[in-house]
Amino acid sequence: MEHFFSLFVRSIFVDNMIFSFFLGMCSYLAVSKTVKTAMGLGIAVTFVLLITVPVDYLLQTQVLDENGAFNQAVLGGQDLTFLAFILFIAVIAGIVQLVEMVVERFSPSLYASLGIFLPLIAVNCAIMGASLFMQQRILMDPATETKAIGCIGDTFAYALGSGIGWLLAIVGLAAIREKMAYTNVPKPLQGLGITFITVGLMAMAFMCLSGLDL
């Protein structure tokens, strides 16, 4: 339980998707103009992460890995890890499509507010990145590393933490950018340039948390 909790807190603050790995940067910069849309995208990313990371974990450990139960039973123990990239991206694209249909069917109001963000999530590096980090962390030893992912429960903690970390980062930036609209920035630096520098300063603030030992 303790490992579960520390993994969760760690992925929000220490291994923040944006500030320490730059994942999902494109949509982070493009959709952070107002707090409301930023919130919508943040929630959508968290939601998709919560589904894809556990599914990719099961695929990795059961199907691709040569010692996986499904692999042993059906394929007779073949190492298929080289297929990971193709399978992960196919799972992500498929699940995004599925989530879109489910949300449209059961909650049209949420669907309307997320709008075009849902399909765009398929090519958000944060989703693919979380799956690839999960793949690396399976190999770590849970007894010594708080980052390690040992069971399916850990993947939920990791996905939820990463998603909330991303949400925090994008809402924070959107709030700053809303205020910044009234400031006088040098012309060539306006827009993108100053946004990068703002994110850099936010990342510096988050660096204070990197000493957190959980």
Binding site: L23, M25, N124, M128, G129, P186, I197, M207
Partner: protein, 208 residues
């Protein structure tokens, strides 16, 4: 031959290098541009890999563009890119293992690099194979240039070396100079890229 290197094709190739640079103008592919540039060597390898992948994915999608049904084009594009990335990742593991360890997950993340999807959607789906190939190489090199600039500054100021060779003489350190450890941190990558964008815009505005 004359047609292959006509004026339009030269523009297709040279536009992304400066005026329409994928990183500093279109703001695509930022994730990896920031993450792999703490040293120069991984930045160069990453730039090269992306150039090869954009060029060939553009070529393949352009050849297939008339046969791909419109509704499933994104998945087809993703699968082509993922297959190319898998090949490049295996080549990197086989020949430059230390760099591939440094790049870690960012090689796999080339799949979701927006430059690729952006070029496939905006260019390769409408243009012939040769133009698309040139466009892919141009965009890849435009991306690589920014990576190399940021990687150069970060490694020089952060570790006092270039490509792993010490370039600052010991006398400089003896006089009290210290490496700026902050440069190797993620935060400085963002601020440096902000400054690159600033310089690029100021320069191009002046020229107009």
């Amino acid at each position: 031959m004359g047609k292959l290197f006509s004026k339009e094709n030269q523009e297709v190739f040279s536009n992304p290098l400066n005026l329409n640079n994928p990183v500093v103008v279109q703001v695509l592919g930022i994730c990896s541009a920031l993450a792999v540039t703490s040293q120069l060597k991984p930045a160069i390898v990453m730039g090269l890999s992306v150039t090869v992948i954009t060029a060939f994915s553009n070529l393949i999608i352009s050849l297939l563009r008339k046969t791909i049904p419109n509704r499933i084009r994104i998945i087809v594009q993703l699968v082509v890119v993922a297959a190319l990335v898998t090949i490049v990742s295996m080549i990197l593991k086989a020949y430059v293992y230390d760099v591939s360890v440094m790049l870690s997950v960012y090689v796999g993340l080339i799949i979701t690099n927006c430059i690729l999807m952006g070029r496939l959607e905006a260019f390769a789906m409408q243009n012939g194979p040769w133009e698309s190939f040139l466009d892919g190489i141009g965009n890849g090199i435009g991306y690589a240039i920014i990576l190399v600039v940021v990687g150069f500054v970060r490694e020089l100021l952060g570790a006092g070396s270039i490509l792993g060779f010490k370039v600052l003489p010991q006398a400089v350190y003896d006089a009290g100079y210290m490496n700026n450890g902050m440069m190797t941190m993620p935060a400085m990558a963002l601020i440096l890229l902000g400054c690159v964008i600033w310089a690029h815009r100021a320069y191009n505005d002046e020229k107009k």
